[in-house]
Each structure stands twice: as C-alpha cells, then as structure tokens.
C-alpha cells in the first residue's frame, strides 16, 4: 500500500541521483515503482509550467494587497460606527417614548418615590442634554453619509 522509501524515491527522481540500493528496492517495490513513474511524469510538467508562466509583477500584487488591507480596515471600523449609529437611534427612540410618558407626570409627582421633584428635574435635564448631543451627532453623521453617497453616485469619491 505505502512504502517508507517513497519520499526517498521521489527525491532521487527529482535530483536524478538514485543509489544502486534504492534502484534495487524500486524494482521490487510496486509502491515506489508507481511513485517514480508519477514523479517522472509530473516533474517535467512542473518545470515546464514554471518556466513558461507569465506572472503579474510582484508590485501589482503588493499594491492589490495594500488596497485590500485598507478595505478590510475600513470595513472593520465602519462596522463599529454602524453599531454606534444604531445604538444612538435606539436611545433616541426610547428617550422620545419615555419623555412623552414622563413629562406630564413629572410636573405634579415624582417619577419614583425615592426621587424628589427637584432630583427628577435634574435627571430629566441631564437626559435631555444627553439626547440632544446624541441626536445632533446622529444628524451630523447622517448628513455626512448622504454627502458621501452623493459623491460616490457622481463618481467623485
């Protein structure tokens, strides 16, 4: 099935240096005989292919690799920004729903029994400021996205 001296046979066939001992073994070993036949057929084919191939220049491959690396890096960071945008939208939506429900109540009562009217107002003010920052950031990012899309459609980017 398999002979331990097969690699040795292939190596000797490649380098054309077969010892008498190995030659004697190959004659008696069907696995090594087949291995030698196949190596004798494939090795000249490999040499021919390697000598005739017209490869692209190394620098072309290098530049392509660089541009791909940049694309991967951009995709990676764009993914983080997309997550941030989505989180911003979720926050904005939750804030809107919450504030609609809370504003009428907070005028007269505390939101939670432990939170006094004054503390509730401060919390609300902080939430409003936070929401304003997030929404303005989102709005700015969306405007920029629109601008980039318009540029790419016009072929300028």
């Amino acid at each position: 099935m398999h002979c331990e001296r097969e690699p040795e046979t292939v190596h000797a066939t490649r380098h054309g240096s077969c010892s008498a001992d190995l030659l004697h073994h190959i004659e008696d070993c069907p696995a090594c005989t087949e291995a030698r036949h196949i190596a004798q057929a494939l090795l000249p084919e490999a040499v021919f292919l390697q000598s005739t191939v017209d490869l692209p220049p190394a620098m072309q491959v290098w530049e392509s690799a660089q541009s791909k690396a940049q694309t991967f890096a951009l995709e990676r960071t764009s993914r983080v920004l997309t997550i941030l945008k989505a989180a911003g939208f979720v926050y904005a939506a939750i804030f809107v729903v919450w504030s609609i429900r809370t504003f009428p109540i907070v005028k007269h009562y505390s939101i939670l029994p432990a939170v006094t009217g004054e503390a509730a107002s401060t919390s609300l003010a902080a939430a409003v400021i936070g929401a304003s920052c997030i929404v303005s950031g989102l709005w700015y990012m969306l405007r920029k996205d629109k601008h980039v899309k318009a540029l790419s459609h016009s072929g300028l980017s």
Partner: protein
C-alpha cells in the same frame, strides 16, 4: 473633521503598517514562490483564470495575516496552505465545476508526454490531483499534506494511495511505450 471620518481614515492609514513586510522582502518572496505555486494551481484547478485569481488572493491573504517570522520553506508551505484553502472554498461553492481544459502543449521538448500528463490529470478528481502534486512535485510528506489540505494524516494515506494507483494506471501505457 468628525469621528465618522477620522476613524476610517485612521484605519486606512494604518492598514499599510499592518502588512508584515516591505516591498523588497515581498519581491524576493514572490520571485521564489509564485511560479511553483502557480504551477500547482493550474494543474490542480485545470484553469488559468482560477490559477491567476487564487494566486493573487493567496499573496494578499498572506500579507494581511501577518504571520510570525518564518523560514523560506515554512513560508512556502504556508502559501500552499492558503492556496489550498481557497481552492477548497471554490470546490465547496462549486465555482470550478467545469472540466479542466487540455491546453496547447506549445513547443516543449516532449509534447506527447505533456499531453499524457494533462489527460491523466483531467481524468483525476481535483482532490487526487492536489494530493499527487503535493506529494510528488512539492515532496511533502503525509503530515505536511494534511496540514496543507486540512485533511487528517490517515485520510491522506488512503486518498494518496488511491490517487497514485489511478494515476499510475492512466500513465502506465504511455510510459511503457516510451520505454
């Protein structure tokens, strides 16, 4: 400048630094490994377009993966491994379903012998072609072939034996005639 622009630009600018070697090192590596790699790909896939694509992609992935410093032999094996994985992906997606074409033998010294080899390779399965090439041209042992192809050493032993028998049966008449 806003965050949305700054982060991707920063990433883009540093992507070059992510590549593991400089242009000169790459040139040397490419000169030493591209030809044997392309010969492997063309004979296993049987298609020039596939060989060109996979070879280019192999070097791109090699540069992007930032492997640790390796000697030439290990680098060569690593490239063959990436290329084999890419071929496996294509076979899985059945992108290379077409039969390999028998190309023109050109003006080689032994046109008949080349055509025999091409016909034999055409009659073998891609996996058989792959194993035979790695074993008998690249002189890889079973463990190395297993690492390159992602198969177990035991499977390699069995598959290579079958491929060898089949190829020998297909090549034998031509070899016998040649004496």
């Amino acid at each position: 400048m806003n965050v949305a622009y700054t982060i991707p630009n920063f990433a883009g600018a540093h992507a070059e630094e992510d590549l593991l070697m400089d242009e000169r090192d790459f040139q040397i590596l490419y000169d030493r490994t591209a030809r044997p790699l392309w010969a492997y790909l063309i004979r296993v896939s049987g298609r020039k377009d596939v060989a060109d694509d996979v070879m280019q992609e192999t070097f791109c992935r090699f540069l992007a993966r930032k492997p640790q410093a390796m000697d030439e032999q290990s680098t060569r094996k690593y490239l063959f491994r990436i290329a084999s994985n890419l071929l496996n992906d294509r076979w899985r997606r059945k992108e290379d379903a077409e039969q390999p074409e028998i190309e023109e033998a050109g003006f080689s010294r032994d046109v008949d012998a080349r055509l025999d080899v091409q016909r034999t390779m055409q009659q073998l399965k891609p996996r058989e072609r792959q194993l035979l090439w790695l074993a008998y041209v690249e002189e890889m042992n079973h463990a190395e072939i297993a690492a390159t192809t992602g198969l177990s050493t035991l499977s390699i032993r069995m598959l290579l034996f079958r491929a060898r028998r089949k190829a020998a049966g297909l090549l034998r008449p031509a070899i016998m005639v040649k004496g």
